[in-house]
């Protein structure tokens, strides 16, 4: 607890500043005050928690899961076969530069307003960073250690399991921590394109009504959830990786 003091203090100061400015402007549709947002969050708790939060969580969870599996598979495949790497790596990097959000409306034409069009946006936002980060992790194994394993007659699989996997583990954690916020952003974008529920949709709807506090309420909810997830993952990471500065 104690070590989080400075951070808590900073957040408090920022919130107070925000509250001050918001009260100064006194126009919730331009800048709602934190207290206003909390009040609104409380008022809207039923639809938010029973309908919209589950909907968005479903999209992000599904999207993340598929992204992680796909991303890992791809990273492993590229690490496995240099031909695959040569073929895929530039394509992946390149594909990352495609502003998926711009073509996202097409997904609705492909999948309709089902969850899949939204999951696809999420996957496209998170899949590439995961694949590339993890692959870079595999690539950053220490040459000398790889050579050593090689002299022990290690198979490719052995090198992978005994050396590359542990080396890439910190990268994997970074990738996940990076992907979580991205998946939330992806879901929010997707819900903009057309949705009947979800926190992104809800937020947008509130925007159309110029209900500033209502815009922020689901956003606050979303980021609290994302924060908690990131926090849990950081805990796991700290437990797992004790040798970061020693490699």
């Amino acid at each position: 607890m104690k070590k989080n003091m400075p951070s808590a203090l900073l957040v408090l100061i920022l919130l107070m500043l925000w509250q001050g400015v918001a009260m100064g402007i006194d126009a919730a549709y331009i800048l709602p005050s934190p207290t206003g947002i909390l009040v609104r969050l409380w008022e809207l708790r039923v639809p938010l928690f029973t309908v919209h939060l589950p909907a968005t969580m479903g999209i992000t969870a599904l999207g993340l899961l598929i992204s992680v599996v796909l991303g890992l598979l791809l990273a492993i495949a590229m690490d496995w076969n240099p031909k695959l790497e040569k073929a895929l790596y530039p394509v992946i990097v390149a594909s990352q530069t495609i502003p998926t959000t711009a073509i996202a409306p097409l997904f609705i034409l492909w999948f309709g307003y089902s969850i899949w069009s939204k999951v696809l946006v999420t996957i496209l936002m998170t899949f590439f960073p995961i694949a590339i980060t993890v692959f870079d992790g595999f690539k950053s194994t220490k040459r000398e250690m790889e050579e050593l394993l090689f002299t022990y007659g290690a198979s490719k699989k052995d090198v992978f399991l005994k050396l590359k996997l542990p080396t890439a583990l910190p990268h994997f954690f970074s990738a996940i921590k990076m992907a979580i916020p991205l998946s939330v952003i992806g879901a929010a974008i997707a819900e903009w394109l057309g949705a009947q529920k979800g926190l992104g949709y809800f937020s947008k709807r509130m925007m159309t009504q110029l209900d500033g506090a209502g815009v922020f309420a689901p956003v606050v909810l979303l980021s609290v959830v994302a924060m908690l997830t990131v926090w849990v993952i950081t805990m796991i990471e700290n437990k797992t990786i004790t040798w970061r500065k020693e490699l």
Binding site: I30, L109, Y113, Q196, Q209
Partner: protein, 323 residues
């Protein structure tokens, strides 16, 4: 560019240095430019705004509600928005906005469905997927239409399709859409070869309204009404030209259209113009004229429907600056 909290100071107090120096006047449209906006382009082309010392800057909306939010936030001098939505937002969210003129004297909003879908009236909407632009009133209008024909709105699905009303319909993503203009979408869809049915919400209990109104920030109207008056005067003059010579006016619009972005079809816009001219000015009401009474009727209806939380007197929302 600054962070605009002290909104009125930039707009309101610019000193006039003779005729040469034009004052910027920004307007946010309700939609992409179409026949209903011809008079604005005509006015620019003919220099009517310049005569009033204004340099009219036309912005298209990027969100459906920009027509109300931008003038409210002081980021535009005036916005075009829908009357019922304006009442709702202005009262429920305390958005400081007033209406300074009505663009049409009656509703243009229609529900459109493909003929194949078999939807021809409110009774057929039950359980359908309905696309709308995200304005919350559209939902209420559908519900009230259903209740008007003795149905409940329980299982209607509402899908916010933003600006993509036509495409959502034609690609079969939704069964019907609300928020189409009878003057534009209807002929446009027909020209594109789609057989459609359409009907007015007003046929099913929704009160008549001035479809689009000019909204300005309350502050701006109080502090510098003269600037808006100049704008409105120029609009009236421009509309005069549009009425006199619709073809020329249309041509100016077509010349100014952003073809790559939102191409207009001449035939469609001609039809649109024919529909529009009789409702933008009627024998009873000149262009821009608005009656508080019409506003109040709509507000009362909104209250009856349970959309407005309080019975509201809308008199302060309506300010007639010109006649």
């Amino acid at each position: 560019a600054g962070c605009g909290t002290n909104k009125s100071s930039e707009d309101g107090s610019a000193p006039k240095e003779g005729e040469k120096k034009l004052e910027d006047f920004s307007i946010v449209l309700d939609w992409y430019p179409n026949a209903i906006h011809s008079f604005l382009y005509t006015g620019i082309e003919k220099g009517y705004f310049a005569e009033e010392g204004l340099n009219l800057v036309i912005n298209f909306p990027s969100n459906v509600n920009d027509g109300i939010s931008m003038p409210a936030a002081g980021k535009a001098d005036i916005g075009l928005y829908y009357l019922q939505d304006a009442i709702l937002t202005a009262t429920e969210e305390n958005v400081p906005i007033v209406s300074v003129g009505a663009l049409t004297q009656s509703s243009l909003n229609v529900v459109v469905a493909l003929k194949d879908s078999g939807i021809s009236g409110a009774k057929d909407l039950k359980g359908k997927k309905i696309g709308y632009s995200g304005t919350s009133l559209s939902e209420e209008q559908i519900k009230s239409m259903l209740e008007n024909v003795g149905l409940s709105a329980e299982d209607c699905q509402f899908i916010d399709v933003g600006f993509d009303l036509m495409t959502a319909l034609t690609t079969g993503q939704v069964d019907a859409t609300i928020g189409n203009m009878v003057n534009h979408e209807v002929p446009q869809l027909e020209e594109n070869g789609f057989a459609i049915n359409y009907f007015y919400p007003t046929e099913f209990g929704v009160p008549q309204a001035y479809e689009l109104v000019f909204l300005a920030g309350k502050d701006a109207v109080e502090k510098n009404p003269e600037k808006i008056q100049r704008f409105l005067r120029a609009c009236q003059k421009s509309f005069g030209d549009m009425k006199e010579n619709p073809d020329e006016s249309l041509q100016i619009l077509l010349d100014n259209q952003n073809a790559e972005n939102f191409p207009l079809s001449k035939t469609v816009e001609q039809k649109s113009m024919e529909t529009l001219l009789p409702v933008m000015e009627t024998p009873e009401a000149p262009f821009l004229h608005q009656e508080v009474d019409v506003w109040q009727k709509n507000a009362d209806w909104l209250y009856e429907r349970g959309i407005l939380s309080q019975k509201t007197d809308v008199t302060p929302l309506v300010v007639n600056l010109v006649d």
